[in-house]
């Protein structure tokens, strides 16, 4: 059995580091942070997302793809050639680590949508990319696109996150933002695709929790063309954020008021304008409310958002030092990389912490 065929409940550790000035730093920092929370994972999945890591290819979509065999690779590359201009392709560099075994073929492609195909599709560019990714992941057996954004990339595997980081030589990448995930699934995922972060375009999500609203959310989001093939919370949360942000045009703050909506009793105490807006968001998008425990870090182009469920049933701490912002499941995971913090606090349930680059560019 491999993940996607059953629902795999997980506990987890998450961590995120962001430089508001856009200064690029090595991926070593995030490995050091997540290593501290070794006990929060069980060796059945770890992963990272880095932003600003491909400046030389920043105008192209970077597809990271797992292949189970060569025929899947052949079939997938035919599809890519037909639908995209492939600017560059290579194996993703890895190093042998005894703890990481059974690796699939791991390839990276920098691509741009094929202009005539894109025009024929009558879709905007990002929607075209999303549909292509979903198409590959659902229709090509043995091929799985696990990263598809611009100037960002996801790196994940079966194993403890610190081993996964060394496997992918993460210290050789530099970016303005990294997030990390250590997984504690109740069942073995059976393949690498089940590890986190989960990503679509430049949105990536690391998540700790088990959402009780899962099937309500899944059945709602699948109406809008998404397909939840992994049956994980992280997957459905990513799709919800993509849908609300990219397709519906809600701001991240508004998205927090949908997925971790304040209680009605709280809304009623707000000033009129704000109350009306919150009532509107809760009723217009009621099926996308997420209940049950979660802490998530959402990475996106030029920013990062941390959010807890509305009851704060999972730990999550934020720290700040100069232009750096740190988010982690445990304060120790921040202190280990920055002991001298200007500010450290635990955001309340449903209170989104949204951090963006100061100059507005990545």
């Amino acid at each position: 059995m491999k993940e996607g065929m059953f629902r795999n409940v997980s506990g987890c550790a998450i961590s995120g580091i962001f430089s508001k000035s856009g200064r690029r730093f090595s991926g070593k920092l995030i490995i050091d942070s997540i290593t501290v929370m070794h006990e929060r994972s069980n060796g059945l999945g770890g992963g990272f997302a880095g932003y600003g890591i491909y400046p030389e290819y920043k105008d192209y979509y970077a597809f990271h793809i797992f292949y189970e065999n060569k025929s899947a690779k052949k079939e997938c590359e035919e599809y890519l050639e037909e639908h995209f201009d492939i600017i560059n392709l290579s194996k993703i560099p890895t190093r042998k680590v005894p703890q990481i075994t059974d690796e699939p073929l791991i390839w990276r492609y920098f691509v741009a949508p094929q202009p005539t195909k894109l025009a024929d599709s009558q879709l905007d560019e990002r929607e075209y990319v999303v549909r292509s990714v979903i198409r590959i992941n659902t229709a090509i057996d043995g091929a799985y696109v696990f990263s598809s954004g611009k100037n960002m990339g996801v790196f994940k595997a079966m194993g403890y996150p610190e081993d996964v980081g060394r496997f992918y030589r993460l210290e050789e990448y530099e970016g303005y933002c990294f997030t990390a995930h250590g997984r504690y699934p109740t069942n073995t995922p059976g393949w690498w695709g089940g590890a986190h972060p989960f990503a679509l375009l430049d949105y990536s999500v690391v998540h700790n929790g088990e959402i009780s609203s899962y099937d309500a959310n899944r059945r709602c989001i699948e109406m809008y063309g998404y397909k939840c093939t992994l049956q994980t919370d992280t997957e459905v949360i990513t799709y919800i954020i993509d849908y609300l942000h990219r397709k519906k045009g809600l701001t991240l703050k508004e998205i927090c008021s949908v997925i971790a909506a304040p209680f009605w009793s709280t809304i009623e105490r707000k000033p009129q304008k704000e109350r009306e807006e919150l009532e509107y968001l809760r009723s217009a998008f009621d099926t996308l409310l997420i209940t049950g425990p979660f802490s998530i870090i959402v990475g996106f182009e030029g920013g990062m958002m941390a959010l807890n469920d509305r009851l704060k049933l999972r730990s999550m701490v934020v720290g700040e030092k100069d232009d750096m912002v740190y988010v982690a499941s445990e304060e120790a995971a921040i202190r280990v990389i920055q002991s001298d913090l200007d500010k450290v606090w635990a955001p309340r349930g449903g209170e989104g912490v949204i951090i963006t680059l100061e100059n507005g560019e990545s």
């Binding site: 009780s212 309500a216 045009g249 209680f263 009306e276 509107y280 968001l281 009723s283 217009a284 049950g292």
Partner: protein
């Protein structure tokens, strides 16, 4: 004496050691079962008139009475039941259509009883509703197609008209005429106190009850009785009744004998005339006609109220609902084959339509496949018996449920299924003044409020156990359900897994 083919189904058993011949039973029974024999200072009973409504039992001060099913029997026959034989005797005698009341009592599967709910263990905490907020507020109505912003970038409120409920339960349509004024008043006052809605049914709205308009659904049915501009304006929502679960494909008939006084006035028809609701709406012979009525009603009320279209659960219900969702309706109400009625032909009630659980599951699935589930809310009725049924219905995909029978039982109904006789001893399904006054609305409304309050507590407990603290996160959350004793096809239609999977 003529040959009596039919032996009474129930027997009145009187304990003469306890009976004090106070004659309460005699005064209480509108069916005139009990009789006092002055010569012997003794009460006797005519079992053949007894409908087993328990009125006499409940009021006997010495608890001297009980009603038992007769052990008189036909010769054993696995094919010809006593019921089948008796019904033939009846029809052979009077040549008429058999009439029945309340919901289908036959032994069909009750799918709610084959569904089990989930609870959190270890990986996810359950939530204690006594310590944490647990939200049951429901919005019914269409969702906006897209978000709009004003010039300052603020969200515009483009939400179509909605019904807001404190919990996902409403009182379903029961007309003034089919039930008494006091029953209607009880429902209206309870709805207002609970922050939910009740439904006028097709009998118009008594002018005394206009003040509960914010908690009223005004119904427009095929007879259009009692429909006028003020009536439409007075409600919180308008329901077009296309069908009823107890009698799909059949209209209604309130006998002239019941069209008296205020009922005649409220229905806007002369006293003593039969109120006949045709089987179809004669201005709706197709889906495009429905659209015209939906928009006529919206025009008439300035697009300020949601329009509900109520249909019976029939074989093709998913496709029909999908058509309705594209026809301007804000809410679809689906009534299952167990739904109640004040009177229906027995054969229709017992043999037409499908279970609400299956209808709901397939409608919800179809609307999602078509991407239009958010165009409409779904309300289901047709035998919601407890808070567990409510939770299961919501998990299958309903936004809200309608309860009719359960509400009447709270008011004292004992499910004797004799509403069509008009002699309801509990003052519910009758217009006889002496009987109506037995139902005190001050007490009746309180019992309804109590019932709903109890259900709300139970709903919250079940939600909390699942780690869900807002009802919308339960809606359509079918992973919270497992089936027991269901076959593959049933599981497929319900969209759930079997227990253990």
């Amino acid at each position: 004496m003529a040959v009596q083919y039919i032996y009474p189904e129930y027997e009145v058993v009187r304990n003469y050691d306890r009976c004090i011949a106070c004659r309460v039973c005699e005064r209480q029974c509108a069916n005139e079962v009990h009789e006092y024999l002055a010569d012997s200072n003794k009460m006797v009973a005519d079992d053949s008139k007894c409908v087993n409504c328990h009125r006499c039992v409940a009021l006997c001060p010495t608890r001297a009475l009980k009603i038992v099913k007769t052990d008189h029997t036909f010769k054993e026959n696995a094919n010809w039941s006593g019921k089948s034989i008796t019904e033939i005797y009846k029809q052979a005698e009077n040549g008429g259509v058999l009439l029945s009341s309340m919901g289908n009592p036959e032994n069909y599967p009750v799918y709610f009883d084959k569904l089990l709910l989930n609870a959190s263990q270890v990986t996810n905490p359950s939530i204690d509703p006594l310590r944490e907020p647990m939200e049951t507020r429901v919005f019914l109505g269409a969702k906006p197609e897209k978000i709009e912003r004003d010039e300052r970038g603020r969200l515009k409120n483009n939400l179509p008209p909605q019904i807001i409920l404190s919990m996902p339960v409403m009182f379903s349509a029961m007309s003034y005429g089919s039930i008494s004024y006091n029953a209607h008043e009880s429902l209206a006052r309870a709805a207002a106190e609970l922050g939910i809605l009740y439904n006028t049914g097709e009998g118009g709205l008594h002018e005394n009850l206009y003040k509960y308009g914010k908690h009223t659904i005004v119904q427009v049915a095929s007879g259009r009785f009692g429909v006028h501009k003020t009536y439409l304006d007075s409600g919180a929502a308008i329901e077009i009744k296309m069908g009823q679960g107890a009698k799909p494909g059949i209209g209604g008939h309130l006998p002239g004998a019941k069209i008296v006084g205020d009922i005649s006035k409220t229905r806007m028809i002369p006293e003593g005339t039969d109120a006949i609701s045709p089987a179809p709406h004669h201005d709706i012979y197709s889906i495009e006609d429905l659209r015209q009525l939906v928009f006529s009603l919206k025009e008439a009320t300035g697009y300020t109220k949601p329009v509900i279209v109520k249909i019976a659960a029939v074989h093709n219900v998913a496709a029909i609902a999908s058509g309705i969702a594209r026809s301007g309706a804000d809410i679809i109400a689906i009534d299952g084959f167990r739904g109640g009625t004040g009177a229906a032909p027995t054969r229709i009630r017992d043999h037409v339509g499908i279970p609400i659980e299956l209808a709901l599951a397939s409608v919800d699935k179809r609307l999602r496949e078509e991407g239009i589930r958010n165009n409409v809310s779904i309300v289901v009725g047709g035998s919601i018996r407890s808070s567990a049924d409510v939770v299961k219905a919501v998990a299958l995909g309903a936004d809200c449920v309608y309860i009719g029978t359960a509400a009447l039982i709270a008011l004292g109904c004992h499910l004797c299924r004799s509403c069509h006789t008009g002699k309801c001893n509990w003052g519910i399904a009758t217009q006889r003044e002496d009987l109506v006054k037995r139902l005190n609305p001050d007490l009746g409304y309180r019992r309804l409020v109590n019932l709903m309050t109890a259900w709300k507590h139970e709903i919250k407990e079940m939600m909390g156990g699942m780690g869900i603290n807002s009802i919308e996160a339960l809606r359509g959350n079918r992973l919270m359900l497992r089936g027991v004793g269901l076959n593959e096809k049933e599981l497929e239609i319900l969209g759930i897994k079997h227990a253990g999977e």
